[in-house]
C-alpha cells in the first residue's frame, strides 16, 4: 500500500513527486510511456513566463509568479539550464497600444515587474524586431529553461529520495475503496491511500473515473519550428505578440541551448495523441512570426514538432482534492503557464497531500542533483584529466552537438536512465543537432545495446513499438 500514487511523469507529476519526497512517504509515480517528460512537457515553448499575463486572482497567476520565483534556486539545486533572458510583448502600429496598458495593470495586480519601452530603446535591445513594432511591454523576469532537464532533474531527485517510478505502465482503471484507491494498470494492480492526477491531456479521464464533478480537457495543439544554432542569436529575449483569443500568439525565442524557436500555432483537436504537424500550421509560422520579428531565417529549420496543451474548458488550473473523492488530488488543466508554474504546483499539491495524510518531514531528504556533465564547460586541462580517467569522454558520438560517449554513458546509467534514442537525445542532445541523428543514431544504438544491455532489435526511438531495425539483412 502506497501513501501516494502520482499518475503522470511529466513536469507536474515529477515536481509533485519531488516535493512529496521532502516528507516521510511511500510514494510512486505511474507513467504510461517509457520515459519521463514524454507528453505535453516535452513539446512546448520552453519558457518561464514572468507572470503578467494570467488573470489576477487565478491559480494560473498565483502559481506562475511563485514558480518563476522558485526557478533560480531550483536550477542551482538540481543543475538544469535556466536563463533569465527577459521577455517583450510587442505592439505593432496597427494594434491597440491600450492592450499593453491592460497587461501593465495585470502585471501590477500579479506583482510582476514590467515597463513599457518605445521603439528606439527596443531596437537597441533587439535589432531584428519588425519595422512595424512601435512599443512593447518588457518583463525582465521572463526566462527560458530546458523542459527536459527540468523534468528529468525533478524526477531523478524524487527517485533518489525514495519515490518509485513505474514506467511503461498505463492506468486503465481507478476504484475508490473506503479509505484507499485501487489502481489497475496494464501491468500490476497498485493500491494507494491517495492518488494525484497529473495525467496531462488525460487528466479528465482519470478524474471522471472517481468523481462526479466531471472535467473536460481539450487537447490544444501547438506546432513549432526549431532553427539551427546559427540562428540562435536572432533575438536575445523572448518576443511575444499581443495575445489573441486563441492564445499567446506566435513567439520567437532563443532556447537555453542556443537554438531559435518559433511557434506555437493553436488548434483545438479531438485526438489526445494528435501530435502531428500540418503543412498549413508550419507554413503559418513564418508569416505570423514576421509580424513581430523580421528576417527570421526559416530556411534554417532543423526540426518541427507539435505539442498538446491540456486546456480545461473552465480556463484555470484545476488543483486540489476532489470534493466527492477524498484522497484524490487533481493537478489538471495544466496548460500554459504550466511549465513556469510546475515547481509551485508541486509545492501546493504536496502540502495538500501531506496535510491530508499527516506526513512528517523527511530528515534525510537531499535536494541536490548533479546534471549530466557538459565537458564543453571545462578547460582543456580539466577535460584531459577527465578523459584520462574516463576515456569515453574523448570519443565524440554526436558530431553536430559534439556529444561524447561519456555523456551518453552517464545518461544511460544514472537514476531513471535513458533506454531509447529519444531518451539519450533529451538527456544529452546527441541527435538533436543539424543532422538530426543521421550520423550518430547507429552509434547510439550500439551503445544502448552494450550498456543497458538490450537487443538491437528492442532499441526504440521512444518506447513501445517505435523500433528502429527489424532484423538482420535478408532475414526480415
Amino acid at each position: 500500500m502506497y501513501d501516494v500514487a502520482i499518475v503522470g511523469a511529466g513536469v507536474v507529476g515529477s515536481a509533485i513527486a519531488r516535493e512529496l519526497s521532502k516528507f516521510k512517504v511511500k510514494a510512486c509515480v505511474i507513467e504510461k510511456d517509457e520515459d519521463v517528460c514524454n507528453g505535453t512537457s516535452k513539446a512546448n515553448s520552453a519558457i518561464v513566463h514572468a507572470g503578467f499575463d494570467a488573470k489576477p486572482g487565478t491559480l494560473k497567476a498565483k502559481l506562475n509568479v511563485r514558480g518563476n520565483e522558485m526557478m533560480d534556486a531550483l536550477s542551482k539545486e538540481l543543475d538544469f539550464p535556466f536563463k533569465r533572458n527577459g521577455s517583450l510583448v510587442v505592439c505593432t502600429k496597427d494594434q491597440d497600444p491600450a492592450l499593453l496598458d491592460e497587461l501593465v495593470e495585470k502585471a501590477k495586480a500579479n506583482g510582476v515587474e514590467v515597463s513599457i519601452l518605445e521603439r528606439e530603446e527596443l531596437i537597441e535591445m533587439e535589432p531584428n524586431l519588425a519595422d512595424d513594432v512601435v512599443k512593447a511591454l518588457y518583463a525582465p523576469t521572463g526566462a527560458i529553461v530546458c523542459p527536459f532537464h527540468l523534468t528529468m532533474a525533478l524526477a531523478e531527485n524524487a527517485a533518489d529520495n525514495g519515490v518509485e517510478f513505474f514506467l511503461n505502465t498505463e492506468v486503465t482503471m481507478i476504484e475508490k475503496k473506503d479509505d484507499f484507491y485501487v489502481i489497475t494498470t496494464d501491468k500490476d494492480v497498485i493500491e494507494a491511500k491517495t492518488v494525484v492526477n497529473a495525467a496531462g491531456v488525460y487528466a479528465d479521464k482519470l478524474n471522471n473515473m472517481v468523481s462526479e464533478n466531471k472535467l473536460e480537457i481539450i487537447a490544444r495543439r501547438g506546432q513549432y519550428c526549431l532553427l539551427d544554432k546559427d540562428a540562435g542569436n536572432h533575438v536575445s529575449k523572448t518576443i511575444f505578440q499581443l495575445p489573441s483569443k486563441m492564445g499567446k500568439g506566435v513567439l520567437v525565442t532563443p532556447t537555453v541551448h542556443g537554438n531559435l524557436l518559433v511557434g506555437p500555432t493553436a488548434e483545438d483537436i479531438d485526438d489526445k495523441e494528435g501530435i502531428n504537424t500540418t503543412a498549413d500550421g508550419l507554413g503559418s509560422l513564418g508569416v505570423t512570426s514576421a509580424q513581430s520579428v523580421k528576417n527570421v531565417p526559416m530556411r534554417q529549420v532543423i526540426t518541427s514538432f507539435a505539442g498538446l496543451r491540456a486546456h480545461e474548458v473552465n480556463g484555470d488550473f484545476v488543483i486540489g482534492e476532489a470534493e466527492d473523492a477524498k484522497g484524490f488530488f487533481n493537478a489538471a488543466g495544466i496548460e500554459s503557464p504550466g511549465l513556469s508554474s510546475a515547481p509551485a504546483i508541486g509545492e501546493m499539491v504536496a502540502s495538500l497531500v501531506a496535510e491530508s495524510l499527516g506526513l512528517e518531514k523527511n530528515p534525510d531528504f537531499n535536494g541536490t542533483r548533479k546534471g549530466i556533465l557538459n565537458p564543453a564547460t571545462l578547460s582543456m586541462e580539466e577535460r584531459n584529466e577527465l578523459i584520462k580517467k574516463q576515456p569515453a569522454y574523448g570519443n565524440i558520438i554526436c558530431r553536430c552537438e559534439m556529444i561524447s560517449e561519456g555523456e551518453i554513458l552517464d545518461a544511460i546509467h544514472r537514476t531513471l536512465g535513458a533506454r531509447s534514442l529519444d531518451g539519450v537525445k533529451r538527456r544529452t542532445r546527441a541527435g538533436m543537432g543539424r543532422c538530426q541523428a543521421g550520423f550518430c543514431s547507429p552509434k547510439t544504438m550500439e551503445i544502448l545495446e552494450r550498456e543497458v544491455p538490450m537487443s538491437m532489435f528492442d532499441v526504440t526511438k521512444n518506447g513501445k513499438d517505435a523500433k528502429i531495425v527489424y532484423g538482420y539483412n535478408k532475414k526480415i
Partner: protein, 419 residues
C-alpha cells in the same frame, strides 16, 4: 604538436590530398579522421560504379577507398582515427580530441578542409505529419544495412531520387524489403540515369516525378505515407494524393557540405554551394586553408573528388614550400544563364597552373544546348552538350596560355546557350 599540413577528414578527398602533398615534397602530414577507419562514406557505398575515370575499371566504394588507403600507408603518411576536430582557428591552430590522446592542439602551416557533407534531414525538409520511428536519411539506412547488417524497414517509400536514394531502393529490395515508390519533388531525377535503370527499372519500382510527401502517419513506427503531385510552384495539388501502407520512409533529398568547422576558422562560404569560396588554388579566404571534395561543393562522382583533392594537396604543398603566391590580378568567374555556381570563383592568371578545371552545376535540365565561355565580352569556347541536368557536374577547362592573351579582362563568364 606541429605539422606542416593537417588534413581534416580521411575520406576520398582527404586521402587524395594527402598523397598529392606527400608526392610534392611535404613529409609532415597528419590526416584526422572521426570514424574508426579511413575511406569515409565510400565504406558504406558497397555498390559498384566507382573509379572509371581514375582506374579505368569499375570498382565498389570500399575497393576504390582501399587503393587510396594503400597509397597513404605506402607513403607512411600519419593519420589519427576516431579523432574529432573540435576547432580550427584562423591562425591554423587545429584543436582535436580522441579517447587516447585527450584534447590536443596542432600548429599547422597549412590546413586542407575535407570534411565531406551530410544529408538534408526530415526536419530541414519540414515534412508535416507525425514523428514516429522509421524515418531515415538514405545514408543512415545505408550504414545500418551495409556496415551494421541490420534492416531498418520492410515496406519502404523513398522521397528524393538522389543517387543514394536510388542505390538504397535496390539495396533494400535485394535484402528482402519491398520498395513501393520513389517520389521526386522536381520534374527530373536528381540521380544518374544508370541508377534509375539498374536500381528502379530492374525491380519495377515506380518513380513519381513532381511528387512529394504530404503526410506521415503512425505514432510509434511509420504506418503510412501519403504522397501528392506538385504543380509548377512545387505546392501539392489537392486530389492527387496516393497513399502507401508502409513502415519506412527514406529521404534522399540533397546533401549539404559540412562547414561548421570552416566557420570557426572564419572561412567565407558561398550561399549557393554552402561550401567555401576558393580561388584557382582551391584556397579559401584564409591564407593556407584549402578545401576539396564534398565540403567544397557536392560532387556527383568520386573520381572528380579525387582529381580536385589532388590539386588541393599539390597547392597546399606549394604554399608550405614557397609561401603566399603574389598575384597582381584576380579574375572573377561569373556563373550566369543556367550555371548555378562555379568552383573556383576566381582565377589568378599569373600564378595558375597550366590548366584549370572549373566545375559547376546547371540549374535545370537543358537539352541540345552548349556551354559557352566568355573572356570579358568575347566568346572563347562553346561546347555542345546533348543533355545537362542538375544532378550531374559539368566542367570547363581554362588554359593559362589562353588567358595570357587577354591581360585586360576583369571577368570570365560561363553560361548555357543554345547550341
Amino acid at each position: 604538436m606541429k605539422y606542416d599540413l593537417v588534413i581534416v577528414g580521411g575520406g576520398p578527398a582527404g586521402l587524395a590530398a594527402a598523397i598529392a602533398a606527400k608526392d610534392n615534397g611535404i613529409d609532415s602530414i597528419l590526416i584526422i579522421e572521426r570514424d574508426r577507419e579511413l575511406g569515409g562514406i565510400l565504406n558504406q557505398c558497397i555498390h559498384n560504379g566507382f573509379g572509371l575515370h581514375t582506374f579505368k575499371e569499375e570498382l565498389t566504394g570500399p575497393e576504390y577507398a582501399s587503393r587510396f588507403i594503400a597509397q597513404v600507408e605506402e607513403r607512411g603518411i600519419e593519420y589519427k582515427l576516431n579523432t574529432m576536430v573540435m576547432d580550427i582557428a584562423n591562425d591554423k591552430t587545429v584543436t582535436a580530441m580522441n579517447a587516447t590522446d585527450g584534447m590536443f592542439t596542432i600548429e599547422a602551416k597549412a590546413v586542407i578542409l575535407a570534411m565531406g557533407c551530410r544529408e538534408r534531414s526530415r526536419g530541414a525538409l519540414n515534412i508535416p505529419g507525425y514523428r514516429p520511428a522509421g524515418i531515415f536519411s538514405a545514408g543512415t539506412a545505408q550504414r545500418l544495412v551495409n556496415i551494421e547488417g541490420y534492416m531498418p524497414g520492410r515496406r519502404v517509400v523513398i522521397l528524393g531520387s538522389g543517387d543514394i536514394g536510388l542505390i538504397m531502393a535496390r539495396r533494400m529490395t535485394l535484402e528482402g524489403a519491398k520498395v513501393l515508390a520513389v517520389a521526386e519533388l522536381m520534374p527530373y531525377s536528381g540521380g544518374l540515369k544508370r541508377n534509375i535503370v539498374q536500381c528502379l527499372d530492374d525491380f519495377d519500382i515506380p518513380l513519381y516525378l513532381s511528387h512529394t510527401v504530404v503526410d506521415i502517419q503512425g505514432k510509434e513506427r511509420v504506418e503510412g505515407i501519403t504522397i501528392a503531385e506538385v504543380g509548377p510552384d512545387r505546392k501539392p495539388i489537392p486530389g492527387s494524393e496516393i497513399h502507401y501502407d508502409c513502415d519506412t520512409l527514406l529521404l534522399s533529398c540533397g546533401l549539404l557540405p559540412e562547414n561548421e568547422l570552416s566557420k570557426t576558422a572564419g572561412v567565407e562560404l558561398s550561399p549557393i554551394t554552402s561550401g567555401p569560396v576558393v580561388n584557382d588554388s582551391l584556397e579559401t579566404n584564409i591564407e593556407g586553408v584549402f578545401a576539396c571534395g564534398n565540403v567544397l561543393h557536392v560532387h556527383d562522382l568520386v573520381d572528380f573528388v579525387s582529381q580536385e583533392a589532388t590539386n588541393a594537396g599539390k597547392n597546399a604543398a606549394k604554399y608550405i614550400k614557397e609561401g603566399k603566391q603574389d598575384a597582381s590580378k584576380e579574375v572573377k568567374i561569373l556563373p550566369v544563364d543556367g550555371v548555378r555556381y562555379t568552383v573556383p570563383t576566381t582565377v589568378r592568371p599569373e600564378v595558375m597552373d597550366d590548366t584549370l578545371t572549373v566545375r559547376f552545376r546547371v540549374g535545370q535540365v537543358f537539352k541540345n544546348c552548349a556551354i559557352a565561355t566568355y573572356f570579358g565580352d568575347e566568346l572563347i569556347s562553346k561546347r555542345k552538350r546533348p543533355v545537362m541536368a542538375p544532378g550531374e557536374m559539368e566542367q570547363v577547362i581554362l588554359k593559362k596560355s589562353q588567358l595570357a592573351e587577354y591581360p585586360d579582362i576583369e571577368n570570365i563568364t560561363i553560361k548555357i546557350e543554345e547550341a
